[in-house]
Symmetry: C2
Subunit: 246 residues, 2 copies
């Protein structure tokens, strides 16, 4: 891959990883496929000698890893985030398999940073974590035993991302008509604004906000908001806010 | 997958594995994708508590693993064997990428046992080991660092095998016209017979047999011999043998 490879725009984000060995094995899995941007959200132990050992000759990935305290910090400036899940959920996001998701991520990664989010070894991602992403990804697996090791799941996704480029299915040229997508940070700003207006208008009970806000997140995740649309919606929210300064 | 899945006909053969943890991780990688037949050729340590730990809930795969002392024992009765290699070699076999190889293996696996052969963690497969296979497989990787962990390589191949079935690209119905392929055992028998006749006829120096026999193996690997063809060739060898009983 040349220095301007879309793979340089793909982040692997590991949330609350328990076993440092899995962080090291993830670094190795990434480097073998040409990925390099590792983000660790509240890892249990890092740096750690076990991570170094399992990374083998991919310690440079560990050394340049970003350790974060929140998903917003790790993914706020990305433009497409996909959450790995082992099973479908209530109120689920649009779901892709590993191959489809890789194609979609690379399409964005030609121009914008994107993220693949992996959860805890034991329990995966929380619904709150998933709600920060625009789509969920499932790796096809044996229904009787679908529990892939964390680094093994990273390996498959990294492989599929590389294969998109190897097979050259996705055009390297951007569609010049494509409107600029909103960043996750801009979308988060919209959600906060929306929640505020819903509460202030009496539409949303602030003691029971979760389900309704998750539905709204799901809706906007599906639409892939553009930057301009976020601006329009926020303008509307400002206009309709009953507490607006007159 | 139903009980008659082609995945039941696919063997994962690990040759001379050094780290028992990799055997356990391989078992887990296999089971998540619906594979179950594990063959271990001279593993350094097996059974081993480290293998059990890394297998997680795939210990049943370890318990039913076949421990062998030779490749012939592990693969002799298979009909297509593919060797995983990180790089091309001199006198190389036909090479497929992971996806292509998976398609080819599944096509055979609808009716016959097939094998995927993985070498030592440190040095991969020897040329002698590769010469028992009909094709080599490369997993597309970063040319600057292509050293996948053993179990990670198994995970990708197992995933691609499953994906062939998930995507339904390969017809489940056999081609009724397809002639019956020769088993590796039958092909080995041919090679031994051929070498014997070459030596007895003075064509081959028995103190320097390696390169010539490897060329012959490569040739026949490419052709995918049928059962009937092996019989014809062996009949010919018997007929031309200068030492034949008169």
């Amino acid at each position: 891959m040349n220095p301007a490879s879309p793979l340089d725009n793909v982040r692997i984000v590991l949330s609350h990883t328990s076993h440092p060995g899995n962080i090291g094995a993830t670094a190795r899995a990434m480097k073998t496929m040409g990925l390099s941007r590792l983000y660790l959200v509240n890892p249990k132990s890092f740096p750690d000698s076990e991570a170094d050992a399992r990374a083998s000759n991919a310690r440079d990935i560990l050394e340049s890893a970003c350790v974060c305290t929140s998903l917003e910090e790790a993914m706020g400036d990305t433009f497409l985030a996909a959450a790995l899940t082992a099973r479908s959920r209530d109120l689920s996001h649009p779901t892709r398999n590993a191959r489809q998701a890789a194609g979609e991520l690379i399409r964005y990664a030609h121009h914008h940073p994107v993220a693949l989010l992996f959860g805890r070894e034991s329990a995966g991602l929380t619904s709150a974590e998933i709600s920060h992403c625009q789509l969920t990804v499932q790796i096809p697996a044996n229904s009787a035993y679908s529990s892939l090791n964390l680094a093994a799941a990273v390996q498959i996704m990294a492989y599929e991302l590389r294969m998109v480029l190897e097979e050259g299915v996705v055009a390297d040229e951007p569609d010049p008509q494509l409107p600029e997508p909103a960043s996750l940070q801009e979308i988060e700003g919209l959600h906060h604004h929306l929640e505020q207006v819903m509460v202030q208008s009496g539409f949303l009970d602030p003691t029971q906000p979760k389900r309704l806000m998750r539905r709204m997140r799901r809706l906007f995740a599906r639409t892939r908001l553009e930057k301009e649309e976020v601006n329009i919606l926020r303008g509307l929210l400002t206009a309709v806010n009953p507490h607006k300064p007159t």
